[in-house]
């Protein structure tokens, strides 16, 4: 016990003496949590539209105004040449070309039917899809309005229409920040937990102090605990700072119990620290440790369900997410923050986190050798 105390004392002294670590622990959450959510916005705004109006009728102008007024679209140009409009797409200045044919109003009035043409720039698939869908729904609206103009107060509606009303559970205003910010915090806690541990141990390897430790009668488990405990505390500190920032700047207060998040995080961090330890047993230099860490964090984020929904991934990728500890914590924190899930609801996640902790730490301990 005394040896462990001596180790911890030394570790904390070094941490509080290193301005770089303190900066990472306090500045990284600030910047990531305050800046990233602004950029990681799912909503598509500012879709650029070029309109080819060959009709120049009252209806065509009404339609264009309606598109403009929706707030989602920028009108890049309004002209009479499809070729010219397509050029905008080619130069990436327009995302959608909407062509209104010459006989638009005439067809609409005489034949009760008109055709519009839409060309989408599908380089950015999400923007093309959503932009196209927005435009389609605006045109449908317009269609309905036109019909209401014609059929003044009908006794019986010739076309039965469905009225759909919906309610958004758990996130009534569909505020994406409530969804994104806790997820980003998870990635942050993961990085602090695993990579700082790895770098710390590898640094001792590089400097040569680890050899001095290995020549002492200190036990493997003492050394490892001496390294894990400080970073476990740092990880939980980062989590606390992050949760506070979320509350101050976004007003996010978990619907569920905070202790549920902390209990999960405490177990989760053990696994993450084990990962850091494992990296350190393989890497010889801090540079190697950094590169391995970068590689892993990319996979963790992309296969973690932070930006993209796991359910819409192909089956093989979904299998991979099962081996990604980050995906469990992201799900848990969203469940607790948005739905108020309890410890019982997240029991399987907790078990998975515990399994990660056991496997990664055992692997690391086996691989850590005092003697080569």
């Amino acid at each position: 016990m005394r040896i462990l105390r001596i180790l911890l004392e030394k570790e904390f002294r070094q941490i509080f003496r290193d301005p770089a670590i303190l900066r990472i622990i306090f500045m990284m959450p600030m910047i990531q949590l305050l800046v990233l959510p602004m950029a990681a916005d799912y909503e598509i705004k500012n879709v650029n539209v070029a309109v080819v109006d060959l009709d120049h009728s009252t209806y065509s102008i009404q339609l264009v105004n309606k598109v403009k007024a929706s707030g989602y679209f920028n009108l890049v140009d309004y002209n009479e040449s499809f070729e010219k409009s397509l050029e905008y797409v080619e130069h990436d200045q327009a995302d959608i070309v909407l062509q209104i044919p010459a006989s638009f109003e005439k067809d609409l009035v005489r034949e009760d039917k008109a055709t519009l043409f839409m060309a989408l720039n599908a380089i950015n698939g999400v923007k093309a899809n959503l932009g196209g869908a927005y435009l389609r729904s605006i045109i449908n609206d317009f269609n309905r309005e036109v019909r209401l103009d014609w059929v003044q107060l009908p006794r019986v509606n010739p076309q039965p229409t469905f009225q759909i009303s919906s309610i958004n559970w758990f996130n009534p205003l569909m505020n994406y920040k409530i969804f994104m910010v806790p997820g980003i915090l998870v990635v942050l806690v993961t990085m602090v937990g695993s990579f700082l541990t790895a770098l710390n141990i590898v640094k001792e390897k590089e400097v040569g102090t680890i050899e001095q430790i290995n020549v002492t009668p200190i036990h493997k488990y003492q050394f490892i605990l001496g390294k894990l405990i400080p970073f476990w505390v740092l990880g939980l500190t980062t989590l606390s700072i992050g949760l506070t920032l979320e509350w101050i700047f976004y007003g996010i207060v978990p619907v569920g119990n905070l202790s549920t998040i902390y209990i999960f995080a405490a177990v989760y961090l053990l696994g993450v620290l084990g990962l850091g330890l494992l990296i350190s047993t393989y890497a010889q230099t801090q540079q190697q440790a950094m590169l391995i860490s970068f590689f892993l964090i990319m996979i963790f984020i992309l296969l973690g369900g932070l930006y993209t929904s796991i359910e819409s991934m192909p089956v093989w990728a979904q299998v991979f997410t099962k081996f990604n500890p980050v995906s469990y914590f992201i799900e848990v924190i969203r469940m607790v923050v948005l739905k108020g899930s309890t410890l019982y609801d997240i029991r399987f996640h907790l078990m998975a986190a515990a399994a990660f902790a056991v496997v990664l730490n055992s692997w690391a301990i086996v691989n850590y050798k005092k003697r080569s």
Binding site: I6, E9, R13, G208, T209, E211, Q212, N214, V215, P217
Partner: protein, 247 residues
């Protein structure tokens, strides 16, 4: 293997794949002796020393260090030895006092023992004014002396020094050797590697490694006589020239 030897090595070998770093070396080190372990760069000195300290597994051969078997009791050996590696291995971002406390602590010294040790050690090295400064602010010579004292903090039976005076000025080297003599006079066995031949002359006995083998082992006086050389430098050059192994 007799009990009264501090270190007793038989046919100790270390192979890395097809490269034999240490090739069946055999020697004994008496208790309280200053044993010089010489050899050109790459001759296998550090590898041999790392095996004796329990940092590296031997491929074959036997060794007893401080009365313990190298294979079975490596952790017991660690309690009885001190080690100062080629690389500086105190924590540069801790103060002198904190380093002493840390190493003393992990060797199981009590708070009281650490306190008195710190005082005597700081006094001995004339570091009273620097004791609360970070180690990285010290000049190299002072760092090396401090390292040595820290390696001796638990009063080990044997201390292993791997090129302790590399890059250190002559005055400080002299002071360093005073520390070594002092330790030896108190009964500690000193096992030291060096590239300075004047230092080799200070040793009780010297071994010279060439290509992983020990080619000569005797007192400096006896070696000079045997090789008909005026100085240890000459003895070393004669032996090292035979080396076939590239660095």
């Amino acid at each position: 293997m007799k009990e009264n030897f501090a270190i007793s090595v038989r046919e100790l070998t270390k192979r890395f794949n097809d490269f034999t770093a240490v090739n069946a070396i055999t020697f004994d080190v008496k208790q309280g002796e200053i044993f010089g372990f010489l050899g050109a760069n790459g001759a296998g000195k550090t590898t041999a020393m790392r095996m004796l300290c329990g940092l590296s597994f031997p491929t074959s051969g036997q060794a007893m260090v401080a009365g313990y078997d190298l294979y079975q009791d490596a952790e017991k050996i660690k309690k009885s030895i001190g080690y100062m590696s080629q690389k500086f291995s105190l924590y540069e971002d801790l103060t002198i006092r904190e380093n002493i406390r840390f190493y003393g602590g992990i060797y199981g010294l009590s708070d009281h023992e650490i306190k008195t040790k710190t005082e005597t050690l700081v006094h001995q090295l004339h570091l009273e004014e620097q004791v609360n400064k970070l180690v990285k602010s010290l000049p190299l010579g002072w760092k090396q002396k401090l390292s040595f004292s820290v390696a001796m903090i638990h009063q080990p039976k044997i201390v292993f020094l791997d090129e302790p005076t590399g890059g250190v000025d002559p005055v400080t080297r002299r002071e360093f050797w005073t520390l070594i003599y002092e330790a030896a006079s108190k009964g500690t066995t000193v096992f030291v590697t060096t590239h300075y031949m004047d230092e080799a002359e200070y040793c009780d006995r010297v071994s010279i490694m060439v290509d992983g083998r020990i080619d000569a082992l005797d007192t400096p006086l006896e070696l000079k006589r045997k090789f008909n050389a005026p100085s240890m430098e000459e003895v070393f050059v004669q032996l090292a020239r035979k080396a076939k192994r590239a660095e």
